[in-house]
Each structure stands twice: as structure tokens, then as C-alpha cells.
Symmetry: C3
Amino acid sequence: MAITLRAMSDALGGQLHASAQVGMAAVIQGIAPLATAQRGEISFLSHIKYASQLQQTQASCVILLESAREYLPQHAACIVSPQPYLYFARLTQWWRAQTSTPVPPGIHPSAVIHPEATVHPQASIGPLCTLGARASIGAHTRLVARVSVGDGCILGARCIVHPGVVIGADGFGFAPREDKSWEKIEQLGAVRIGDDVEIGANTCIDRGALDDTVIEDGVKLDNLVQIGHNVRIGKHSALAGNAGVAGSATIGAYCTVGGGAVILGHLTIADHVHISASSTVTRSISEPGLHTGIFPIDKNDDWEKNAVTLRQLSKLRDRIRELEKRLPASS
Amino acid sequence: MAITLRAMSDALGGQLHASAQVGMAAVIQGIAPLATAQRGEISFLSHIKYASQLQQTQASCVILLESAREYLPQHAACIVSPQPYLYFARLTQWWRAQTSTPVPPGIHPSAVIHPEATVHPQASIGPLCTLGARASIGAHTRLVARVSVGDGCILGARCIVHPGVVIGADGFGFAPREDKSWEKIEQLGAVRIGDDVEIGANTCIDRGALDDTVIEDGVKLDNLVQIGHNVRIGKHSALAGNAGVAGSATIGAYCTVGGGAVILGHLTIADHVHISASSTVTRSISEPGLHTGIFPIDKNDDWEKNAVTLRQLSKLRDRIRELEKRLPASS
Amino acid sequence: MAITLRAMSDALGGQLHASAQVGMAAVIQGIAPLATAQRGEISFLSHIKYASQLQQTQASCVILLESAREYLPQHAACIVSPQPYLYFARLTQWWRAQTSTPVPPGIHPSAVIHPEATVHPQASIGPLCTLGARASIGAHTRLVARVSVGDGCILGARCIVHPGVVIGADGFGFAPREDKSWEKIEQLGAVRIGDDVEIGANTCIDRGALDDTVIEDGVKLDNLVQIGHNVRIGKHSALAGNAGVAGSATIGAYCTVGGGAVILGHLTIADHVHISASSTVTRSISEPGLHTGIFPIDKNDDWEKNAVTLRQLSKLRDRIRELEKRLPASS
């Protein structure tokens, strides 16, 4: 089938401006980044600050802000949108719908489903998944492949769960015995996941010890993320790859957590808090905004000198104090 | 079935003290944290320092220390134990035994078992597991689902292995060739795991290069933990989520390693060492106790100022020395 | 079958020097590290600096440099090689070929293969793998077990992919909507993996958003590594366990990345760059060599004092400046 610029803007809106070389009936072959787009492809400019990149593009059409139009090469058509990046996201969805067969609902015969599990008829359970007793999968939710959902764990509607995900393994709970070996605390809670949640490959969400672990609507988890027992993540928060959230931490809504970041247990993170990649959150955060704790990387020799000195930092402070005492304030 | 306080204390011990409102025959509906427990539920107070939380609880019964009894609201019954948290752990186990059907031993028909693997008749191999040649699974050990155990790897008795775990993949061993490409070192060792070990979802334990990788009795590994080849972890040590132990490191007994911590290769960690979350162990540790290395998190602007200065730290030290030289010691 | 020293050196080269006690026809039972090798075993000495370890060894034969021969105990035979560690690597491969049946090519009946996937007749697809539409697996490549390869993703020849690996899950791409919820960006690219790549257990390589994610020939990825969408990793680079590379980062050839390290998105790392374990790369690196950023670990009390002071570091610098102003330079 031919995807024309006109069909695109009819479906997605925006103001389509044809060029002398690219008419509204022009057929678009693909979507590509500005730098590598070829003739016959559509691209996008997300921010006006990147407008200089327009000059070199070979794209036949660019999605952009009205204010960016003046930088567009003459050969190219454009679609003007107040939010080009959001328009691009919707274009990728429309594009996929035009070019691929949707995954049909149903349960793959290789999946192992407990007879007491509940799967909505519009859900899709891919190959080699396992669902435990009383697990429940909502409408239009898709477990891609090799996903395990434990007993009593619930997923809402329109979730996407990538391969290798484990929902509802036991939380890490043990009480020390007299001899310092460990007594298991049975994890009697479950996991409750809202609607429109996406969970990346090999991510783990543990069941609660007594109450449930809760992932609210619209949360996005990247790959290899660890969510401990009784964690609660507020709606529309997003956690990047390798991040870890320890038990009973509460993350607010609209937060972002960078890759490899660690949030310790029992902390509370307010709404709209952003944690930089690799940072470790050791206390609750009530102030919205970006929070960071990363050791700056350096050439190894330079790092070594600074790291050695860092071990003496509190002594250096004492030496500065001493110098200040001995040198009276200038007046 | 009805679970009464009397049945509970008959099974688990402790001194049960009924109250005017809650008799020994009172039926308990569930276990809950102090803060959210409702009438008909049992809770616990682990430390006397949290005794003030007792005042507000709606729990019908609380497991507590003798010294905490005076803070208990009149309406509530209690069970006195010298170790309330350990009592609670055992209660969760007894509770599960009363309310759930135990997982029966046997091999799920979807599991792929090498004909030369050995599975104890009292072990449970869940759906979609794979066992390699000469793999051996001990009595009452449970592979929950989607667990892979490689050739020659051995698990003892009463282990619990959560979904997605990989035991006995090849260790990461390569020798550089003349042209700086890599020659694979075949990993000829295996993995030996003791009794009462629990392994969290998607955790990986690599086989040894020549000797075996060894996990001793009672070790607990959380989710997404990486154990390199020829690592040895001493009995009853516990490693939290996303932790990584590089090849040939030896961790003693009764250690704990926090989430996201990294232990470099070929190091030796003594017994009873505790590593804080996110810390990186770059040298052997012989002294028991808590060891930490975390960059403190801060508002991003404050972090940036301090991080920039950190790159000049050894120069700052030199400037302090210079000042000290120029300002003779006060006497 | 009997493996003799003569058979070994016939197959692998090097100069074999028998001893009075160990002749060329001596049978070797196993390979072991110098420290634990017993009579009848072969070992290796990788560097002359470890030559003192030779004195105590019980090994019947040691692979070593010519210059190390003088330290060898009289009882032992030796094989002289200019690169003993590389010789040892090749020995492990030859040893495995002598002692094990090779994994036969073919597709395990429990694997779920899309009818439009392509598997080379000399490839081996292990149990419980899934291959999507137009996935392609090259000659002599082995998916060990429970590996998922998504639609359109391509692996070259002679790759080894360990259990739990996910290739071609969706990259983590979302555009913010007006209400700060997330609009999914369909991931329309795929993953292209070259020849001789090894991928560790539970590692994830995401498909590209528009272009492909690319892993070049000879790359080695350890366990639990996260590779974001549109990342490119140059030939013969090696990434250790729990490392994470965020979207659109480019890593050069012949790089190494230590365990738990994080490389932020859209950065460029030159060829021959080495990143220490646990370090976070926050800017592009053009200079080859070792780069590090780790907070030094310490006893917790000492760490706490230094960490508190670190939060005031830029103020300490200001106080040093002030002192310098007040104390004129000595001349």
C-alpha cells in the first residue's frame, strides 16, 4: 500500500504544506532521523534550538514548529504541529498500524495458564508465559513472550509486558534467627498493576509481604529494573534500565528515575521528582526537581589522586578551620 | 477454616494474653502492618523503639516484647515473644500452610529435563524450566518456573529458585589475541549450591572456569544479582537486588551486600562484613562491620558545584598545604 | 580416552619440555589453577611477575613463558609459549572438544519459531526459545535456552547466546503528552548482531526506534547487561555484568566497560577506551585509556564524615580562596 502525505495528515492532523518538489500525494517510504533521512522519508524537528540541522536534511517532509519553517530547505514539504515530538510518536503508531498485522488476542498454546487465572478475551498471552492461580490480565494487555505472573497478581488494560519479565516473585524478606541464619517471611501480598503500564525485558516486580506492591496507571519501566516488595509507584512515572527500588519505598506521580539509580527502602519520593542516572537516594525527597549524586568520571590517574584525597576530606576541612582561626578575619 | 489466636499460639509458642474484647478463641482474618491493621487482624512490633505506634493500632492482637506490653491499647490481645520479628516470620509460614495447598513435588510436563539430570522425588520443577546433563536438584527444592540449570550444576535441599534464574551459564572469560580480538576460555567448572538457598528472579550464577562457583548453605540472593565465575559466597550471607560480584571474589559467611553494590574480582571479604547499597568494593575487606561508598545525592545545582570542585580536590589539598607552610604553626 | 602431553602440544603447538618425572606420553587428567593443581593436571602462568607461584605447584605440566622456565620445579614438565594465557584459552577449547559431545545443530522441539524466521541449518536453537517474524540466525550460532529474538532481528555466525537473553524488545521511547502522561513511540528499527558475538545470561538488547541497534563482530557482553535502542558497539569491545548503555550511545571498537558501569545516552566513546567498574560516563570520551569515577569505599563512620563534608566542597574551595587572598603569596 502507498502511504501519502495527505493520508498521514488526514489521520494525524497538523497543517501540511507541500513544496514544489513534494506534493500532498507524494508517497512516503519511511520515517528517519533528520541526519540520515533520504528522499521519500519523513522526519521531525523536536526543538527550535536544533533548527540548523534542517539545512542539510534530505527528508522529503519534516514535522516541525511554525517557528522552524523559515529554516526548512525549499525542496521539502512540512507538517506544522505545536508538538512535533508528540506528533512523531503518534505517527510511529499510525505507521505501524498501516504496515503490520496487529497481534491477535488469545493465549499461545505453549503458555502455561493456571486454571484459576483470568485472561480477558481481548488480551494476548504470548509463547512460553506462565500465569499463576488467580492472576488476572486485563483487556488489550499483551505479554509478549516468556513472562511470568505469579499467584494473585493483577494487570490492568492496555499494558505491554516484554519478554523475561517476572511479576510476583517473592519479596526479599527474612528475619534473623538466634544463630544469624535466616527465617523466611512468606510473602503473602501480591502485585497490582494499573492500566497503560509498559514493563521492559527481564524486569522484576516482587509481591508484597503483607500488603500489595502497587504500580499505578501509565507507569513505564525499562529493562532489568528491580521493584522490591510493597513499593508503590505513582501514575505516569518512568524508570530507566537497571534502576532498583528497595522494599516499601513510595515514588510519587510524574517522577523519572535514571538508569542504574538506586532508591533505598522505606523512603518517600514526592511527585515530579527526577533522579539522575546512577544516583543513590538515601533519604526521602520532598522537593520536586532534579536530584543527582554521581562521582564525576575522569582519567584514571586524575581520579585516583582525587579519590585518595576524598578519604581525608573531613580532615582537610578541619585544617581549613584551623587556618581560619590562626588568620583573623581581615576587616 | 477459622484460625484462632489459641491455634496460633499452640502452634508457634509465645505467651498469649487475651483482652476483654479479644478472647483466645477469637478468629484472626489476616496479618497486617501495625499502621494499617484492622479489627480481626494480627500485627507485630519488632523493636521497643517503635512502641508509640501501638497507640493507634486497630489490630486485634500484636506480637511484642514483654517490655512493650504497657503501651498496648486495652482492646487488643497480645502474644509476648523475646523475638517478635522472628515470631512474625514463623507466623507467615504457618499462615501459608493453613491457607494454601503446598506445591506438590514433581516435574511439570513443560519442563525440558536432560535424561542425565537428577531430580529428587521430593523436588518440584515448575513449568518451562531447563535442566542440563548431570544437573542435580535436591529434596524439597523448588524451581518455581522458567529456571535454567546448566550441565553439572548442583542444588542442595530446600532451595527456592524464582522465575528467570540462570544457574551455570558460561563465566565471562576471554584471552586477548594478538589482534586484540577475544579467544573464548571454555568454562569447564560448574556451580555448587548448598541447602536452604533462595535465589531471586532473573538472578545469574555463572559456572566456574576450571573450579566450581560455590554458594554455601543458607545464602539468600535477591533479584537480578550477578555472580561471576569462581565466586564463593559463605553461609547465610545475603545479597540485595542488582548487586554484582565479579569473578573469583570470595565473600565470607554472615555478610550482607546492599542493592546495586559491586564487588570487584579476586577480592576477599571477611565474615560479618556489611556493604551498603550502591557501594563499590575495590579492595579486600578484613574488618567486620559496615562499609560504605556512596556519592551523597543533592539538588542537581548543588551537586554540580561540588562535583566540579571534586575534580580539583588533590589541588585543593596542595593549596591547603601551601597555606599551612606560609602560616607558621601558632604556639 | 587418554589425553597425553604429546597429543596436546601436537594439537596446540608450543615447545613441550618433559621432565624426569613427567614424560611426553604422560596422561593429563584435568586443567587447574596453579595454586590448586594436583599431580596429573596441567596449569598455566600468565605473567612472569607471578613466577614465584611456580615453586609450590603440584601441577605435572605448566604452560609458561621461556623466561619463567628457570622458576619451574624439577618434577614438572612445561609447554613454552610466547602467550601462555592465550595458549590456555585454546587448550580449554581443545579439551572440551576431546571430552564432550558438541551440541548438534537444529531446533529444539519446544522452541517457538515464527514461520517467517530464518535459521541456518548449522545453527542450534535450544529449548524454549522464541524467534519472531523475519528473525535470522546465522551458521554455527547457538541460542542455549530460553532466548527471545524479536521480529526482524539478525544474528551473524558463531554467536553464543546464553539463557534468558532478550534481543529486540522495544526500546524505551515515549513522548510526553500535554497532561504529562506518555505517548508510546513505536520502535520500528531492529537489532543487527555481527559474527562471533557472545551474549551473557539475561542480557537485553533493545530494538532501534527508527534505525537499528548494532552490535559489531566479536563483541562480548556479560550477564544482565542493558543495551538501549540505537546503541552501536564497535567490534571486539567487551562489557561486564550489570553494565548499562543508554539509547543512541556509540561505543568504539576494542573498548572495555567494567561491571555496573553506566553510559548515558547520545554519547560517543572512542576506540580503545576503558571504563572502570561502577563508573558513570556523563560526557563523550575521545581519549583512549582508562577512565574512572567511583566513590572510594570506607568504614561507614569515616565515609559519613567525608560524605557530609563533600556536600560543602564548593564552599570549602571558597574558604581556601579567601585564605589565599588574605595571606599574600610568599616571595
